[in-house]
């Protein structure tokens, strides 16, 4: 879960990190009031995508009237497909130097890694590799004080700034651990009048650990349709084709989309019905797929923890209760396969044994549907 800048900064501020004062505003009038209170401000679009500066999502304002004007320009703006609904008005900083510091998970090392650079203020991906410092952190030890000091040295800091920097890194580490973060990032970590300030901040929290963070706000990037399916506990992403797909397991779902594309079809979604889903959620997800009016539906199940009879039960239920007006292709093998196939056959639904046959067939049927 990605947090908005203003939310991330609230978490950092609570952890004792140096964050400039700011106000969240939903209207130009609120921005005007914020500037009156704070003095010169930066008016910043609150969106979950990067690069908003270059896209015109940040404007500077010296007085309340200018802040109002800036907010009016930014609110409602389309930034990489997201409509700006809120701006964050933050005290202006006269930045002398910009550093980068982030803590992320190193999947290869299977532990956290601190990434930092004396070249901040831009995408860390654009900084040349030799200007980037990486320091793995051993668990359960966590980041130790000396590591923070060593990082300060490696980004070329000395004296008071080095000690402030080490404090910033140690506190970011505490946030990373305490909030089950996937990523905590300050970019730029700005030098302002000889002191370090978190000028921008990102905090991405592990979705799977949200259950132990009732204190955090909830932010969703999902479309309404995606939310409806995800509420069932299933992984779902909308795509722009016309063949609805449901499979079980991220790998086979991806593979199914690949195969559909290979045969010339265009998938309409990614729906991983996951392992061990009971008939209930599967039926609900299928019902939603039907409502999206695809040209055809492919259900591809190779049952492991998923039981074929449960999937068949879900299909039969939806067929009987709401009807499935478009062509439905089912591929069903694995655990309790015989029971599942019997149930489908009794309902007049043919179940294929191979993915190849099923994928070919659904692309064919969708083509007929488009032709019709």
């Amino acid at each position: 879960m990605k947090l908005y800048e203003y939310m991330a900064k609230a978490v950092l501020r609570e952890a004792g990190l140096p964050v400039p004062p700011g106000r969240l505003c939903r209207t130009p009038a609120e921005a005007e009031a914020a500037c009156r209170e704070l003095g010169p401000v930066a008016v910043k679009a609150q969106v979950l995508v990067g690069g908003r500066g270059k896209a015109g999502g940040i404007r500077l304002a010296d007085d309340p009237a200018a802040a109002r004007e800036a907010a009016a320009a930014i609110l409602g703006m389309d930034l990489k497909g997201y409509t700006v609904e809120q701006v964050y008005c933050e005290s202006r900083l006269s930045i002398e130097k910009e550093l980068y510091v982030g803590i992320a998970v190193d999947a290869q090392g299977k532990r956290p890694v601190v990434i930092t650079s004396a070249s901040g203020g831009m995408d860390i991906e654009d900084v040349p590799e030799k200007a980037i410092v990486r320091m793995p952190v051993a668990l359960p030890w966590g980041l130790m004080g000396f590591q923070a000091r060593e990082l300060a040295r490696r980004v070329g800091l000395a004296g008071e700034l080095a000690s402030q920097y080490a404090g910033v890194v140690e506190k970011l580490w505490q946030v990373f651990r305490a909030k089950d973060a996937e990523l905590v990032e300050v970019n730029p970590l700005a030098v302002v009048e000889g002191r370090l300030v978190c000028a921008d901040a990102r905090l991405n929290v592990d979705d799977d650990a949200l259950f132990r963070h009732p204190e955090l706000p909830r932010v969703s990037e999902a479309t309404e349709l995606e939310s409806r399916v995800r509420e069932l506990g299933l992984a779902f992403v909308q795509l722009d084709g016309d063949i609805a797909v449901m499979a079980n397991g991220a790998g086979i779902t991806m593979g199914t989309l690949d195969v559909i594309q290979h045969f010339g079809g265009r998938p309409m979604n990614f729906l991983d019905a996951g392992g061990g889903s009971a008939a209930g959620p599967t039926a609900k997800a299928l019902e939603i797929l039907v409502q999206t009016r695809p040209k055809a539906i492919l259900i591809n199940i190779f049952g492991g923890i998923t039981r074929c009879d449960e999937v068949a039960k879900a299909i039969v239920e939806v067929k009987r209760r709401v009807g499935i007006p478009m062509p439905l292709v089912v591929r069903l093998v694995g655990t309790n396969e015989e029971a599942g196939r019997a149930m489908l056959e009794a309902e007049g639904v043919q179940a294929f044994r191979t993915m190849e046959e099923a994928a070919r067939r659904v692309v064919e049927l969708a083509g007929e549907g488009r032709g019709a």
Partner: protein, 288 residues
């Protein structure tokens, strides 16, 4: 010979009294897995499918000398249960649950490293040494003994491919799912090394996915392997930058992309199948 587990492996089932634990214990017993005991805190003393249940792993190990474990424990309790198995000296420890918190997974991996245990998963279907034993959730009818070692991220995709291998008469030594999460215990490379050493394995199938760099790392090791490797990578059609479910399939500027993985594997001398059902013919050709 076999890799990591065989018919002598004495298996403990943690979380045996839940629905999944009960169901899959039955399936494992049917497969021939030597399930010697189960655990379920607070429910010690009962039996599940004839398997005695204990409150703690230590109690079960004391009585039955288990040496490997498979967990059917909900995600929030995985860290404690996996550490319990590791502390008791069990290995491998198979973590089936998905949605295990990332920080918990990192801690489990750190604990396993410290104690020298192999953790498979989280978010894995488990491991099966064909015809001998199975720890996890794969369907019993898919695997057949033979000369091919299989390592995959995703479960159903590997059943798919293993099924086509079996239908082509190409049985398996051991089939293992390393798990779909970003941080998992056993990695592709760990498993490739084991297959390279296993005298019964004559060819290896690796089933990868876009996202992460595990396949690129595997390619580095494949360069020095003597056995043929056939790979399949899922996610070719995924739109860049979209996140696809728990696989963490984020494509970032080429790193971790379908193309980079395929290129790395081909350069390392692996055969890469374009479609799942092309894997079996490539393996057959490699085995001559």
């Amino acid at each position: 010979m076999a890799v990591l587990v065989d018919e002598k492996t004495k298996v403990l089932v943690q979380g045996i009294t839940g629905n999944q634990g009960r169901f899959h214990t039955q399936r494992m017993l049917e497969y021939g897995t030597r399930v010697v005991a189960g655990t379920s805190p607070g429910k010690g003393g009962v039996e599940v499918e004839g398997v005695p249940v204990y409150d703690t792993v230590e109690a079960a190990v004391e009585k039955h000398g288990a040496n490997a474990s498979v967990l059917f424990v909900p995600a929030p309790f995985v860290k404690d249960a996996a550490c319990e198995a590791i502390a008791a000296g069990l290995s491998p420890v198979v973590v089936v649950a998905e949605h295990v918190p990332l920080h918990d997974a990192m801690e489990v991996v750190a604990f396993a490293r410290e104690r020298g245990a192999v953790v498979i998963g989280p978010n894995t279907y488990g491991i099966c040494t064909a015809g001998k034993t199975k720890l996890g959730i794969p369907p019993n009818q898919v695997f057949h003994p033979g000369p091919v070692g299989v390592v995959a991220r995703s479960g159903t995709l590997s059943y798919e491919i293993v099924d086509s291998l079996s239908r082509a008469g190409l049985g398996q030594t051991t089939v293992v799912g390393i798990g779909g999460d970003r941080v998992v215990g056993l990695s592709f490379v760990d498993m490739l090394k084991r297959f390279e050493k296993d005298p019964e394995t004559r060819a290896v199938v690796m089933v990868g996915e876009i996202g992460g760099t595990a396949e690129e790392e595997a390619a580095e090791y494949i360069k020095q392997m003597t056995k043929p490797v056939v790979a399949y990578i899922a996610g070719r059609s995924a739109p860049p930058g979209r996140r696809m479910g728990h696989a963490g399939a984020i494509i970032e500027r080429g790193r971790g992309s379908f193309e980079s993985k395929v290129r790395a594997l081909r350069e390392a001398g692996a055969q890469v199948a374009e479609l799942p059902w092309e894997v079996a013919p490539l393996v057959a050709a490699a085995l001559g």
